[in-house]
Amino acid sequence: MYRAHKNGTRRSGYRGTVAARERDFTAPTVQLLTPSGELRPTPEAEEYLPLIEALPDSMLEQFHRDMAISRRLDLACANLQRQGQLALWVPSHGQEAAQVGSAHAARAQDHIFPSYREHVVGMIRGLDPVAILSLLRGATLGGWNPAENGNFHLYTLVLASQTLHATGYAMGIQFDGQVGTGDPDVDTAVLVYYGDGSTSQGDASEALVFASSYETPQVFFVQNNQWAISVPVSRQSRSPLSLRGGGFGMPGVRIDGNDVLISYAVTRQSLEEARGGEGPSLIEALTYRMGAHTTADDPTKYRTDAEVEYWAQRDPITRYRTWLESRGASASFFDEVEIEAADVAADVRRRALDVPAPSRDRIFAHVYSEPHPLMAEESAWLEAFETGFEGGAA
């Protein structure tokens, strides 16, 4: 579209229309293990191979053990919800590789800010999953003390809020001088988890702005599980989410999130850079939520069986098991892990049922750190009111 000058000539050099600009954005998916379980690095993954080759067999086995336990526990907890023992369960079936690989990349002093689906990350950090169930059972608003549970912070239900808390925490680490000292026991990083849906929240973008601006020691780990409840990721972003890193001034890489090895290696490398003072980075882990968003959801209403089947073929545990077998892992190892996973699930189930209901004084406890007249007044009133009924009960 153009408009001719009054004298009928075009402006100098103006050609009328311009070529349509490129609107397709792509990013390579970095992968070590193919869906069929072969160690065949993509070109971008080559540099990460040494990190995997340095891993002892015991750690490689631990990856499988954690993924298997996570999956088994997921099933047990979904059943608990169906039996009325949990208000809600948040399944992680399908996302085990993204979570287990990244979690093992963190050092003991690092801090993890989860969203609310990273149960196995918490367990790897030392958290008893019963604490998570006490939250989902309606017995607590939090459930654990991060300082006593591997610096695994509380779940955050307002999406992406935790990305800013993580960034602020990382700013504090930097102000404390615990970055770039070269001492592996001192240098500290923050790993924050969120999802494809959360990336649309303003807080997620503000966190990237602050992190980049203050060069925080931090890794943003986006699990792109393709669905924000019922809305596909194409509604959240028309370009790979990993490109958001570059847009905010930090490296962004898209990985195969169903490949536990690349999840470990890229997160490990990114955390090392963060601790070393090189600043934050972003990882987009392509994965799939095989189950529902939560037990309150019905995914058959919005996605096809064919899509689910496509992702089932890319299952993180099957693929990894195939690779371990190809390296000589014995059938008995996998059998033992299955037994262990069943035991863990049964134990968690048993103890979850024993989580006591909170006493009513918990309503008022710790709303404030310092004495507050309304808390004193209202708790005394409730106590008197309820005690009155108890005294007169038949």
Binding site: H153, V158, L164, G168, Y169, D176, D203, E370
Partner: protein, 370 residues
């Protein structure tokens, strides 16, 4: 409620707020803007005359000196010293790791302040203007206010959010608002507002020392008038209210800039033979009802005044509580004087919009007519 219960409440409230007011008397409220050249000497003690803005600067300086974990965060608070110059000179004195010019994102500022507090810092956030706090509303109400209870008390959230608020400055939309009720309504937060340079100097330090999140509402129309600041004695705790001018006929209560309006109204009323007792609320959450109930039990009449909208406001809460706790003392219903339940109008209309001494006196007359 029985009279005896009412009496018990009153006694409890008075005990809760036991505090001796050793504060120097306020100078008469003056609409004139005082010259503002003098910096508060960081080390000075004794009684000095400062504007509220400079009193807060001095208080922030004391807090920064007292605890290296105290950080200031906000937009334009570094070399510029904030749009109201409240942080003037502080970055030069304490460095850009203690006084942070942040990106322009309120939710980001408060959200990262929460993370810093988790790390053991004591962030003091400046929101540039009242109307710009809302991008941070989510982080304040769903996150900041709940971290302590969600962590079962294993962490505290010593975050102060300073908010210049209120009208009388003739500014444009979103620059003259009074959003304090939103935050007073939120459990887990504390909300205060000083009315004088002396209170501002001490209350900002007490807010920073608090282990709970504090919304610190600074009445920006009172930033510039000067008043005495006793830098040796606070006089009273952060959450205490106080009788600022004794009287016998009608109690009038308010906070922030409204206290000056109430004092003007009391002067006018005195000339007409009516004695107003003026109560400065100081704390909006929690509210210290002791001095207020004590006053109402003597005067029998109460007018609550505020710049904020009247509907579901601090004034509504006070009216309800005083009716519950001092019912047998009241000779008239508690009356509210507020701005109107409309968006803050174009500044050319603000004198008609904001409660004036005459609007307060109109309510006083109605209270006396019962």
């Amino acid at each position: 409620m029985s009279a005896s219960t009412e009496q018990e409440h009153r006694v409890a409230d008075v005990r809760a707020s036991e505090a001796v007011d050793t504060r120097p008397a306020l100078p008469p409220a003056s609409p004139a803007v005082a010259s503002d050249g003098a910096h508060a000497d960081p080390g000075m003690r004794g009684i000095h005359t400062l504007s509220m803005a400079k009193a807060i600067t001095a208080g922030l300086r004391e807090a920064l000196r007292a605890d290296e974990k105290v950080l200031l965060m906000g937009e334009d608070i570094g070399p510029l010293g904030g749009v109201f110059r409240v942080t003037e000179g502080l970055q030069a004195e304490f460095g850009d790791k203690r006084v942070l010019d942040t990106p322009l994102a309120e939710s980001g500022i408060v959200g990262t302040a929460i993370g810093l507090a988790m790390r053991g810092y004591r962030p003091v956030v400046e929101i540039q203007f009242d109307g710009f706090i809302f991008p941070a509303f989510d982080q304040i109400t769903t996150q900041l206010s709940r971290q302590t209870v969600r962590h079962d008390g294993t962490i505290s959230m010593p975050v102060v959010i300073r908010v210049p608020y209120g009208g009388h400055i003739g500014s444009i939309e979103h620059h003259q608002e009074s959003p304090e009720a939103y935050f007073a309504h939120t459990p887990g937060l504390r909300v205060v507002s000083p009315s004088s340079p002396h209170d501002a100097y001490w209350m900002i330090q007490e807010a920073i020392a608090s282990n709970d999140p504090v919304l610190f509402f600074e009445p920006k129309s009172r930033y510039w008038p000067k008043g005495p600041v006793d830098q040796d004695h606070s006089g009273m705790p952060l959450h205490a209210s106080r009788v600022i001018r004794p009287g016998t006929d009608v109690t009038v209560v308010g906070h922030g800039a409204m206290v000056s309006t109430l004092l003007q109204a009391a002067d006018i009323a005195a000339g007409e033979g009516t004695s107003l007792e003026v109560v400065d609320l100081r704390s909006l959450s929690p509210i210290d009802y002791g001095p207020l109930l004590d006053s109402v039990q003597r005067t029998g009449r109460l007018v609550v005044a505020q710049e904020a909208y009247g509907f579901v406001s601090i004034g509504s809460e006070i009216a309800a509580t005083v009716a519950e706790r001092a019912f047998y003392s009241l000779e008239a219903p508690v009356l509210r004087v507020s701005s109107f339940d409309t968006p803050f109008p174009p500044a050319a209309l603000e004198t008609e919009y904001l409660p004036s001494p005459d609007r307060v006196l109109e309510a006083v007359d109605r209270a006396l007519a019962y």
